[in-house]
């Protein structure tokens, strides 16, 4: 993507202040436009189909369906949307599951603001990003 263009993002999390925090951080750079917000899986799918964002940031623990299922469905129907999982789950198993579901990136809620900005920059340029909390070798192996 042309670095001058703003990437369009949908935020999906059932915690409103997480969405608000994300919006606050991302809108303060000039690189992103938040084009929609959702608080459950089916709302997310509906918005994604309607708005065709460049990037979707989604929590795994979302009501009906959960974030992994949303990632799976979008990977099939709208693979050009890059899905960044943002979650509390820091296990290798969950990371593997996210990769298998077609997620483009994986970030932990405990990661700092800088990692979030880093992650979005990578995704905007078409590069995978995995939280620095994971072993780099594992991350490379799963997301290549």
């Amino acid at each position: 993507m042309d670095p001058e263009t703003r990437a369009r993002i949908i935020l999906s999390d059932d915690h409103s202040f997480v969405r608000r925090g994300l919006r606050n951080i991302l809108e303060s750079t000039d690189q992103y436009e938040i084009c929609g917000e959702a608080s459950d899986g089916s709302q997310t799918l509906e918005l994604a189909k309607r708005l065709h964002p460049d990037i979707l940031i989604i929590d795994i623990s979302m009501p009906s369906p959960n974030g992994l299922e949303v990632a799976r469905q979008l990977h099939e129907s709208l693979p050009e949307i890059k899905v960044l999982i943002l979650t509390m789950h820091d296990s290798a198993e969950m990371l593997r599951a996210a990769a298998a579901a077609g997620a483009f990136g994986y970030l932990l809620k405990s990661d700092d603001e800088r990692s979030l900005v880093d992650a979005l920059q990578h995704l905007k340029m078409g590069q995978h990003f995995v939280s620095p909390a994971f072993e780099p070798d594992l991350a490379k192996q799963l997301f290549h």
Binding site: D14, H15, S16, F17, V18, R19, R20, G21, L22, R23, N24, I25, L86, K109, S110, D111, D112, E113, L116
Partner: protein, 218 residues
């Protein structure tokens, strides 16, 4: 009229940003500080004297409930709003017992959160109808049934509970001493006392006990 001073305590950057945005949206409200751990929340409350402390129940270093107990003791004018992922009867009871008068789920709306802060700013409680029901029911029964968390509270001093959490988070007695600013020998003595009171014989058992009794999360 003085601005309402709010202190935000959560270990996640993104959540703190979101809570700050919410508070700063309201004219007359200001964020006077942020804390990333329970201990920092207590220190900053004492330092800054906020009107309202918004604190997550799961915080490293000193959990939200224990931090609330300390805050209510050290800064009685500060009202505490607890935010939590988990809604359960047990949690509701714990929150009330700790002295928080506000309780909101993370999945509740921005408006609920704002209403909670508003209520607390007038020293009125903000509890959902369900939590109020639990509170009234327990008082009607003449007190709650003893539960595991009570067991920890009743047997250990506040200091010992702090140390239990640090040990259960994997800190050595030396690191505990460093965090609390006490001598290593004192930290060791506390550890021995805690293990004796809880009748455990290894740190591994101590950790299991702490998890079972919700001092730390697994």
């Amino acid at each position: 009229m003085n601005a309402l001073k709010v202190l935000i305590a959560d270990d996640h950057d993104i959540v703190r940003k979101g809570l700050r945005a919410l508070v700063e949206e309201r004219p007359g409200w200001e964020v006077c500080g942020e804390a990333r751990s329970g201990r920092e929340a207590v220190e900053k409350t004492v330092q800054l004297g906020p009107d309202v402390l918004i604190i997550d129940v799961s915080m490293p270093d000193l959990n939200g409930l224990d931090a609330t107990r300390q805050v209510r003791r050290l800064s009685p004018k500060t009202e505490v709003l607890i935010i939590t992922q988990h809604d359960s009867d047990e949690m509701a009871g714990e929150v009330l017992d700790a002295g928080a008068r506000g309780y909101v789920l993370k999945s509740d709306s921005d408006r609920d959160l704002a209403n909670a802060v508003e209520a607390l700013s007038h020293h009125k409680p903000f509890l959902t109808a369900r939590v109020t029901e639990i509170f009234l029911a327990s008082r009607g029964r003449g007190g709650r049934e003893p539960d595991p968390v009570d067991a920890v509270r009743n047997r250990l001093t506040m200091r010992e509970r702090e140390i239990l959490q640090l040990l259960a988070e994997g800190k050595s007695a030396k690191e505990v001493a460093s965090v609390l600013g006490i001598a290593i020998k004192t930290s060791d003595t506390h550890r021995t006392n805690i293990m004796r009171k809880l009748n455990v014989h290894s740190v591994a058992e101590l950790v299991r006990y702490a998890i079972r009794n919700k001092v730390v999360e697994p």
